[in-house]
């Protein structure tokens, strides 16, 4: 090992405290310029993925026109919040968004396009992806991205749903969620590092997660 390599290796042993300070400084900076530094291959890959997504979107619109002309929106009793809508839900494999891309499940799009009240908020699950892979809700990336969106004034965070566990038991779990207006959904400030899919969340038995459950800014400890 030569001296440069020894020096490089020794730098690897710096205190965690200094590394944490650096990570914190990086996390506090807005992203954006990173986009311009991505390599051409990545751009080509994204362009190809965009084509696939556009084709998938056109297919879904076509299907919607054929089978769901009277899209039915259900409102909660408590106020101008939409937390569910009836529509064609594509499978998640179809709508995996690439980095910087946004996909609205059909029911979400239908809800905000048919409801003209600009004050209405939509209680949506936000599925985050990075490089085509879904992000764990407990991951640092999810936390950091939600924090960024919160700092932009969006009411996003964590909401609670439940699923089955064991023999008939139920267990709660958290997912990323938002209470967003149609305007905020349409002009969502996507980061180039992540893909976003918006859908109305359901519990394991198919019942919608009610908007009354709310969105909280921190995850606390309950992470599936």
């Amino acid at each position: 090992m030569n001296n440069e390599e020894r020096l490089y290796q020794a730098i690897g042993e710096v205190d965690d405290e200094l590394l944490e300070r650096m990570e914190q400084a990086m996390a506090e900076q807005p992203t954006g310029r990173a986009d311009r530094n991505r390599n051409k291959g990545r751009l080509l890959w994204q362009a190809a993925l965009s084509s696939v997504l556009i084709a998938a979107a056109l297919l879904l619109i076509f299907n919607d026109g054929l089978f769901n002309r009277d899209g039915n929106v259900t409102y909660t009793a408590s106020g101008p919040v939409v937390d569910r809508a009836i529509g064609n839900e594509p499978s998640s494999s179809v709508v995996t968004p690439g980095n910087g891309q946004i996909v609205y499940f059909d029911s979400v799009r239908h809800a905000f396009e048919t409801n003209k009240d600009s004050r209405t908020k939509y209680f949506v699950a936000i599925d985050l992806f990075a490089d085509d892979m879904p992000l764990n809700v407990g991951s640092f990336d999810t936390h950091r991205e939600l924090k960024r969106l919160q700092e932009l004034g969006l009411q996003v965070g964590y909401a609670e749903s439940w699923t089955y566990q064991g023999e008939g038991g139920q267990v709660d779990y958290l997912y990323a969620a938002g209470l967003l207006t149609a305007e905020q959904l349409k002009n969502f400030p996507a980061s180039s590092e992540y893909g976003y899919a918006f859908r109305f969340a359901t519990n394991a038995d198919g019942t919608p997660v009610p908007a009354e459950n709310g969105v909280r800014s921190e995850s606390k400890a309950k992470i599936k």
Binding site: M1, N2, N3, E4, E5, R6, L7, Y8, Q9, A10, I11, G12, E13, V14, D15, D16, L18, L19, E20, R21, M22, E23, Q24, A25, M26, A27, Q29, P30, T31, G32, R33, A34, R36, N37, A130, D131, N136, G138, S139, F140, D141, H143, R144, E218, S219, A221, I223
Partner: protein
């Protein structure tokens, strides 16, 4: 990418470390899920080879398995980050990856400027002692200069990525790193870290 350092990840860290500690095989899957992307990006920065980065990435979990216990890291992300960084340096050395144009070649060239007596001297006074001196040196730097130094020489980030992460122009980063390397050389000399 940043490493996890939030309260969420701290609790996740403890959970994963406990799995390793109790020899649960799910520890590797959990660690990989939580820190896989982070470790891969460190290795890929160094090697610029998908195949080699994947190999280092996979070896990281075995090394972690063998290290915990007896070790119990305070911050799991930096712990696995160090492991994958060292594995990647070993891979670089064994495969002479300089030809591939990974970030490590320019980084080592840059670091040669910080070595007392120049890069051709036989051997820097080493290794544990050197680590301590570097820690002490970094604490003498302004925070911003220290952060840029670590982004470049700990994370092995390309300059363009550092510019994006910190919102600083590349030229300013180069200038800061240049000054810091000069200061490091002086500091190493002052501390007797020379052949």
């Amino acid at each position: 990418m940043n490493s996890p350092s939030s309260s969420i990840s701290e609790s996740q860290d403890e959970k994963i470390i406990d799995l390793f500690w109790h020899r649960s095989e799910s520890a590797i899957g959990e660690a990989s899920r939580e820190y896989g992307r982070y470790c891969y990006s460190i290795s890929y920065n160094i090697l610029r080879s998908t195949e080699d980065a994947e190999e280092c990435f996979n070896d990281t979990w075995l090394r972690t398995w063998n290290a915990i216990p007896p070790q119990r890291p305070g911050n799991l992300s930096f712990f696995v980050g160090r492991i994958v960084r060292n594995l990647s340096l070993d891979k670089f050395r064994s495969k002479k990856a300089k030809r591939r144009g990974g970030e490590i070649s320019p980084i080592l060239e840059e670091l040669s400027e910080a070595i007392p007596g120049g890069p051709d001297t036989e051997s820097l006074v080493l290794d544990r002692e050197l680590g301590r001196v570097i820690n002490d040196f970094l604490r003498t730097l302004p925070e911003s200069a220290c952060n840029l130094f670590l982004a470049r020489y700990w994370h092995s980030m390309p300059l363009a990525e550092i510019a994006a992460k910190f919102g600083v122009k590349e030229n300013n980063i180069k200038a800061s790193l240049f000054r810091t390397r000069g200061k490091l050389k002086e500091y190493l000399e002052k501390e007797g870290m020379q052949p």
